[in-house]
Subunit: 341 residues, 2 copies
């Protein structure tokens, strides 16, 4: 039988001590981590980049099918993804948790173990946070800090007409993974004896439960001396993100349906579930890939990158994004996006 | 009749745009605020100080007696207090909110107006955040960033034996304000026609609902060239905070009962409610005053500061804090503190 230690037996300070012991400082930029009124960072002459996300049970995640280890990893990865989208290097995170007493110490440690694995993978320090009880569900608030050089930070508003539009990895999988998990949840709720049918959904489910921030791409771009003119991470779907770049750069963009990278399992899962794989790619969200624009002069370098697809180019249109269909017709993109309310 | 606009009518992006319009960038260190994947800060060669707090309805605040304007102000002030306790200057905050649909746009704007007033008072920029729905109560996560010089940052672990122990303002009022509000809440719940009896509780109630971070003291210490050897803000009660300094500095401390600053209204309220004013000061919490230690050589400067009380001195004891009673007996301090679980 699994051990269950009640949170009340170790208290808040006990929990903080247990966590602190598992998160030693590893980055030279971290001068002070957990244990004082605030953490202290040495920016070493670089610019500091800050992003924050709030994850609430029942809104952003469902513990019925989300293992705490993966949830911890994802909570860190999605924040690191925002730092990556600035073309910066993540260095630290703070994590605040609201916990109901249905969580045992072991469950909380599982959540932190996922965070620790992410800290290890992205080479960042957990430097502080806050823990308290929550009357209802689990609440996770993560703030990520990174460093970047002023000249190479990538904003959303610096794309130029004729710039090449690129996207990393493939799109739509995380959305279909979520649909598959939701379907299995309904089956399970109707009949708890049923075994989940997710054997051929490993990729899409993995994309939903354990996304990775594309720091590999950031390091590769840096090694190739490519500075994106604009960059954003794909959290709300390709259409919404491209529109952000168009609106903030005050220009247009056109992307090509047959260039949009979609994995085979995404196609198969979409077909099986009677969903459109293209809609999943355009509006699905949670892929955490990077959408970025580069100058035409970077074309030769970009085309050799293995996990980057060239999907279109920026235009002189004002704040309009279009999709060129395989059929040859041009469709105006809109962003229903992800409505959080 | 008050206007009530449903959040769903303006959506997440609509809300973000409304908020961003009210929080223009004012600090030269803020390079990019709301509107990109992350905010960007120029540390200007200083060290970056980071603190975060999570406030959950029903745990940290009760909306029955907490006006949203004050709640917004307090959420910022308590984070600024942590930056102050590092002897640093606050510069930016990020704010994430989890909102249930019982909140109208007007209510959310009232909350942000409180934050805006605090940003104005402490001269800081709101540079980012995240908003989403919450299945249950209101969730507020604030991260504060500040800047400090490496040589003058005040940690908890650098107090020395014989250092003078100082505290700002007065203690225990916030706790008694909370007790008074809780009592009125019970009266109100029993009979909603009853008028609240808080006429003579303005000070203690104000200390609970609208605490201030003591940035005035930080500026004054700086002007007097006093660098505290250790500093902490009083959020969990004087005893708990003094013990943190003793433990982290690996020495002892003794404070004198008759030197602990307690306001007259705190005494009167405590007496009326049959509570001990000294217990409120030692273990009450939420005063957000500064507890700090200075070298003996700073005594002449410190004693002329109008809102600083000298309450004791650090000793060679190891990790032990004592209270010298008026009676002459020495009592070992313990920290029941504030148990969040």
């Amino acid at each position: 039988m699994e051990q269950r230690t009640e949170l009340s037996t170790i208290g808040e300070f006990g929990l903080i001590n247990r966590i602190a012991a598992k998160f030693p400082i590893t980055q030279p930029e971290t001068m002070k981590g957990i244990g004082d009124d605030a953490a202290v960072i040495d920016a070493k002459g670089k610019k500091v980049v800050v992003s924050t996300d709030l994850l609430i049970e029942g809104v952003h995640f469902d513990l019925i099918y989300t293992p705490l280890l993966h949830l911890g990893y994802k909570a860190v990865a999605v924040n690191v993804s925002d730092i990556a989208a600035m073309n910066a290097i993540p260095k630290q995170i703070t994590v605040s948790l609201g916990l109901s007493n249905r969580f045992s110490v072991e469950a909380i440690e599982e959540l932190y173990e996922g965070m620790r694995l992410a800290c290890e993978a992205y080479q960042i320090d957990l430097i502080g946070g806050d823990t308290s009880s929550s009357r209802s569900g689990l609440v996770i608030s993560v703030t990520a800090l990174g460093l970047g050089e002023e000249a190479t930070l990538a904003y959303r508003n610096k794309a130029q007409a004729n710039d090449i539009i690129c996207v990393t990895g493939d799109l739509g999988a995380a959305y279909l993974g979520l649909q598959a998990l939701e379907r299995e949840k309904q089956v399970f709720l109707a009949n708890p004896a049923m075994q989940p049918e997710l054997q051929d959904k490993d990729y899409v489910v993995g994309r939903q439960l354990k996304p990775e921030a594309r720091m590999d791409i950031i390091h590769e771009l840096n090694a190739l001396s490519i500075v994106p003119t604009a960059m954003i991470d794909v959290s709300d779907g390709l259409a919404s993100e491209l529109l952000h770049i168009c609106q903030q750069s005050n220009i247009g963009g056109v992307i090509f349906e047959d260039k949009i990278p979609i994995d085979d399992q995404t196609y198969l899962t979409a077909t099986e579930m009677n969903l459109s794989p293209m809609t999943a790619a355009l509006n699905g969200g949670e892929d955490y890939e990077l959408l970025f624009t580069v100058q035409q002069s970077d074309y030769e370098k970009i085309k050799n990158m293995t996990d980057v697809s060239i999907i279109g180019y920026m235009t002189h249109d004002v704040e309009l994004a279009h999709l060129m269909m395989k059929s040859g017709s041009l469709v105006k993109l809109t962003a229903p996006g992800y409505v959080h309310f």
